[in-house]
Structures are given as structure tokens and as C-alpha cells.
Amino acid sequence: MRVAGTWRLVRARTARRVRSGGHAWRSSLQVRVITTTTAIGLVTLVLVGLYVGERMRDSLFDGRVEQVLEESARSTVQAQATFDFSTATQGPDVSRLLEDVVKAQSSGGSGEREVFLLRSPGQRSTVSVGAAASDFALGRSGIVTKQLQVATAVGGQHWQSVAWPTELGDEPAVMVGQNVDVPVAGTFQLFFLYSLQAEQERLDFLQRTLALAAVALVALLGSMTWLVTRQAVRPVRRAAQVAERLADGHLSERMPVKGEDEMARLARSFNEMAAGLQDQISRMEDLSALQRRFVSDVSHELRTPLTTIRMAGEVIHASRADFEPAVKRSAELLQTQLDRFEDLLADLLEISRFDAGAAVLDAEGRDVRDVVIAAADHAFPLAERRGTWLRVTLPEKRAQADIDPRRVERVLRNLLVNAIEHAEGTSVEVTVGADEYAVAVTVRDHGVGMSTVETAHVFDRFWRADPARARTTGGTGLGLAISLEDAHLHGGWLEAWGRPGRGACFRLTLPRRAGIRLTDSPLPLVPDDADPPPVLAPVVRPRTDPAALPELDDDSHSDARQEVR
């Protein structure tokens, strides 16, 4: 039992750890709704943001490039015109001309731009004229790629995105190139380098704004969802709390009703339900109290006249010797049937006390062996009359348990009377066993026994195995039903085993302390000799007719068993 308990604990702990993550998720509708809404909002905003950012970048870039191309085309035409009208024929003149053009072009145009005049690749010239640039260092750094030069050589306007290294880092830029014819020197290529830093900054700013807006939107969405769900969830939570309070028995608990909306309707219906429930429960409580009082009143009302009848009967019975035979017999019948009536009434009241839940366990620590001995003492006279041998086997150690001795003795008396009645002159064995958790008593007879069907019904009220059987000891038919209730009141078990022709065995198992849950009994219910024919074991000497007894071998049992007479 301990091991099973520990294992359960470990399992529960593990499960709790696994659960704790998902706990808030599962237990709170609000958390779930907020999380889902925020997640969906976030994903949507990220997608929209990516798309808008892309579009913004493209349009900014394309617009600038278009502008740059137009401007550079215009500038190229201008430069070509300058070259065409030039009169330079000598190399130095041409060189100066190139420098002039570069200087003129670098200052013109929108915004900052750098200008490079390079000889077209694969061109041979008769005069040695070098390249010209507004920024030679930049020109020599290879910012004008071979690839662009080759492409430009084919003719027409060509452009390429490049990184413009500055002291602040690389800036995005566009290099545009076109052929120009330079007098004497032949075909040159005129390149304009435009910075896109301004556009980049604009884009960065726009994207930052966009991201900020997205964050604000998500936050707004989350808080809105929180507010909305709170409005919806709060009444539900409140309803759950109130329902819990109701379940705990605070029947007058109600939900506050505000306004006319769905929530108010929920609260109102809930309150109506609670009121109905309260009404029903209080009616049932009243009924139950009424029932209990009725039982108690019936007890009093019936018992008082019964007492009078009983006393009158006794007085008549006491002087029956003076009556003629018929009256005398009547007095005797009156007497015995009054006994029976009284027993029946007592049992009925006892059962109705159990039904009303009014039975109280008056437990004290007692040695179950003593109770068994008391019950056996009580059963001896009947056993004697029936010629039944009664053997009681007790453990040597104390069988202490918290029991209500009155009830336990009643159970045992009942079992003993039953067994003796059904033993038909064979022996009845009472065995007491105890372990750490429980104390058990078995009462075994070797009489006619019971079938499985009969065993299943043996604790039913007013049930009789064989209706035709005469019941001379006059049981009420409630004895075993009461015994079962008594056992349950202790948190114990009362079980029956039987087999036709093999006798029957009843086992009472009681926990040694309140709160112990029985899992096992110290004694077996099914006897060892269930299958072989019953053997008459040596028994305790009955008080009558000692001559009819077998010789008793005292030594063979005295060590392990204590025999009681």
C-alpha cells in the first residue's frame, strides 16, 4: 500500500511538471484568445510590412534611378556638345578640355555627383590623353567596373548599382555611363556616380516608422483583445466561482446582475438555476429531516404501547400455570411473538437509522479478541441446543483496533447465530487474524452451504436462501443487512463465500485505525478445505453431554492457538 502510494505521488508530480507549461494555456480562455489574436496579428503585420517595405524601396530606387538616368543623359548630351564645338587638336588641349568638362559636369546637376571620363576599352589613340575625374582617388579605386565599361562600349546608356566608400562607410550609389566622342582622342566614356544615401535614409526612416506602427498595432490588438475577453470571461469566471461556492454548500451564493446584455442574461439564468437548486435541496433536506424525525417518532410511538403490551404479556405469562391449556399456550405464543416483534422493530429502526445517515460510530481502541470471545459466549447456548461444535482460534498477539464494540459484537453474534443455524450439527469455526493494517474475523460453517447466486443476495434485506426453511431462532431477515452496514460504517468489509454442500464462510475485515483504506484482508475468504470434503476438526468441549465428545489432544493446538470455551 505504501509503495503504491509513493508511486502514485511520483507519477502525479511528473504529470504536474508536464502540465504546468500548458496549464495557463488550458485553464484560461483569456490567455488563449490573446495569444492567438496577437500571434495572427503579428504574422499579418510582418507580411504586410515586408511587402510595403519592398514596394517603398523599389519605388524610391526606381524614381531616383529614372531621375539619375535622365539627368546623366542630359549631361552627356551637354558634354558631347562641348566636345563637338571644341577646337582642340593637341593632346594637352584635349586633356584640358576633358578636365574642364568634368569640372563643369560635377558641379551641375541635382545633388552631389562624381564624374569620370575614361577611355573606352579597346580604343587606341594617336594622342596620349589620360582619363579625367572629379575624384581621382575614387576613380582609381575601381568603382567603375570593367563590366560596366564593356557594356557601355556597345553604346547607349548603361547603369549599375555600386557601393560608394566614404569615411562613414559604404553608401549605396548608382553609376551611369555613356560614350562620348572626344575630338582627336577618340571615344571616351562619361560616367556619373550618384549617391543614394538620401534615399536610403528616407527608406530607413519609413521602415522604422512602419515597424513602430506595427508594434503599436500589435499592442493595441493585444490590449483590445484582453479588454474584450475580459468583459466576456469575467462573468464566466464569476459564474464558475459562484458555482464552486454553490457546490461547497453555500446555497445562497448568487451572481451580480448588471445591465441587460447577454452577460446579464447569463447571470440571471444562473441565479434562477441556483435558486431552483437551493429550493430543491432545502426541500430534500427538510424531507430527510422529516424522515428522520418520523423514524424517531415512530420509534417512540410504537415502543411505548409495545412496552405496555410486553409487560402485560409477561404478567400473564408469569401466571400461565393457572390457565387452562389453550389460554396457557396462547400466553406462550404471545410472549415469543412479542420477542420477535420487538427484534423486528429494533432491526427496522436500526436500518432506517443507517438509511437516514444518522448512524454514528462510537469507536474506541479494543482488542478484537475480547469482542469475539464475548460474541462466542453469547452464541454458546444456541450451539449447545443445536449440537454444534464451536471452535474459536485466536492469535497470540493483541488484535487492537479502533472499533465500535457494540456494533462489532452485534455483527459477530449475527454471523455466529447464522452459522450455527445453518451448520446442521457440524462444527462452526471462528478465526481471528491481524496484520499491520487490518483485523479480520472469519466464521465458517460446514452446513448446506450456498450457491453463488445465493451468496450474492445474502446481504439483501428480508432475503432468505430457502423460503421453505423453518426459522426456529426467528431471525428478522435484516441481520446481515445491518451487519453489512455496521462493517461499512467502520470502513470495513463484510463478505460471504459459499458452495452448495461445502458450507459457507463469512469474513469481517476492519481497518485498525480510522482512515486506513483496506486493500487486503489478513485472512482468506475462501477456506483451504473448500474443495475436499469437510473434515471434522477437533473442537471445544460443549457444555452439554461431554460423553459425546471425541478425545481432545490438548497439546497439538495449545502452542499456536488459544481455545476458548
Binding site: 424517531s296 420509534s299 417512540h300 415502543r303 411505548t304 404501547p305 409495545l306 412496552t307 405496555t308 410486553r310 409487560m311 402485560a312 409477561e314 404478567v315 420487538e342 437509522r353 444518522a358 454514528v360 462510537d362 474506541e364 481502541g365 464494540p405 457494540r406 459484537e409
Partner: protein, 227 residues
């Protein structure tokens, strides 16, 4: 006149029957049917024992019991149809010495009445003491620390039974037999309630009893804390 018994019961048939039985045993029964009149009849007749039904018109049995107990230590036996613990304990706490559950047999009734009237009339001079409580058995007087304590005959018997054998632990069953005169009755609630009542009169602190000590799981014994 050997034993006048006051029967307080509203059921005239039962009262009459009890009367027949008591008379046949040589007692002298007097009757009262109403709770309100019970005390007056008690004062007028001065019975040796009261048989008291718990359910009465007018004042209920427990109230009548308290009133009678308030002015006399006369033995009171309750007649009760309710054997529920609460009812019985309530009756005993209001001062009854014993109770009989209905339905009862005449013999049982007579035995209980006899047991309560059986006062030893020939007591040898005997002085007992437990702790600082001294008991004058024939004089029926109990003194603690110079202060006389008034006990009902039953409480007195209980105390004497314990004091006579201060070395012995009495189980409830043995006390029942010795004090109440029962043979087989298993109802030990009687003992519990009367021990509580006795303690409330003789102990300095009934929660920490020194005179009547509980022996857990067994019963009671006389305390021998000091002599």
C-alpha cells in the same frame, strides 16, 4: 412502606402497567402525567426513586430531571424510547442516574429499580481518601480541603467504588456492575457521563483530573497523587 416510586409518564396505560408490576414487587407507586406538575408531585410525595419518561406534555423529561436534581439526590431512572447516543447522553447529563430503553421487560424494570434503591443500610464505619478528598462512607459525606461536597448517591457510590481499591484500574464494565448493578449491559456511556459529572464536582480542574484518573484504553482509577 418499602420504596415509594414516582412514575412520571403521560401514557396512562404504560404508567398503570408499571404500577401493577411495581406493586406486585412490593413497591408503592405514585403517578404524574404532566411535566409541569412533576416537581409539585415530587415535593408532595417525597419518593425514594423517580421513573421519568423523556417525552412529556408540558416540561420535557430533561427539564424535569434537572429540577428534581436541583433539590434532591434521589435516584432518577429515565424511560426512553430513543436509544440514540445523543438523546441518552443528554438525559444522563441533565442528572439521571440510569436509563431503561423501551420496550423493557418487567424483570428488567424491577432489577433497575432495586439496584438503585439498594442502599447499604448497614455500613461499617469506614473512612476513605483519595488525594485531599476524604470520604465518610456511613455518613455519606465527602470533604475536599475542608469544604463539603454534595454528591448524589450514585456519584457517591462511584467515588467509593474507586476509593476502596485505589490500586485497581476499573474497566467501565466492572464499574457498571459494581455501581449500577448490571450484569451484562454493555452500555458504557453511563459510566462516561457520570465520571464527567463526578469530576465536575470534586476536581479542582475537571480538564486535568487528579482524583478520578482515566487510564487510556482501559478505564478509570483513583488518583494517588498525594496523601
Amino acid at each position: 412502606m418499602r420504596g415509594r416510586v414516582l412514575v412520571v409518564d403521560d401514557d396512562t396505560a404504560l404508567a398503570e402497567m408499571i404500577g401493577i408490576v411495581l406493586r406486585s414487587e412490593g413497591f408503592d407507586p405514585v403517578f404524574c402525567e404532566d411535566g409541569d406538575e412533576a416537581l409539585g408531585v415530587f415535593r408532595a410525595t417525597q419518593p425514594d426513586l423517580v421513573l421519568l419518561d423523556l417525552m412529556l406534555p408540558g416540561k420535557d423529561g430533561n427539564e424535569v430531571c434537572r429540577q428534581i436534581r436541583g433539590e434532591s439526590g434521589v435516584p432518577i431512572v429515565m424511560l426512553t424510547a430513543k436509544s440514540d447516543t445523543v438523546d441518552v447522553v443528554l438525559g444522563l447529563e441533565s442528572g439521571a442516574d440510569d436509563y431503561i430503553s423501551k420496550p423493557f421487560k418487567p424483570k428488567e424494570l424491577v432489577a433497575r429499580v432495586r439496584a438503585r434503591l439498594r442502599r447499604s443500610d448497614e455500613p461499617a464505619p469506614e473512612h476513605l481518601s483519595i488525594g485531599d478528598v476524604s470520604i465518610d462512607v456511613p455518613g455519606h459525606r465527602v470533604v475536599r480541603a475542608g469544604r463539603p461536597i454534595s454528591l448524589t448517591p450514585l456519584e457517591f457510590d462511584l467515588l467509593v467504588a474507586l476509593a476502596r481499591k485505589p490500586w485497581q484500574v476499573f474497566t467501565r464494565e466492572i464499574l457498571l456492575e459494581k455501581v449500577w448493578g448490571y450484569r451484562h449491559a454493555a452500555d458504557t456511556r453511563l459510566v462516561n457521563v457520570h465520571v464527567q459529572r463526578l469530576r465536575s464536582k470534586i476536581e479542582n480542574d475537571p480538564e486535568q483530573p487528579e482524583i478520578v484518573v482515566t487510564v487510556r484504553g482501559v478505564g478509570y482509577k483513583a488518583g494517588v497523587t498525594s496523601t
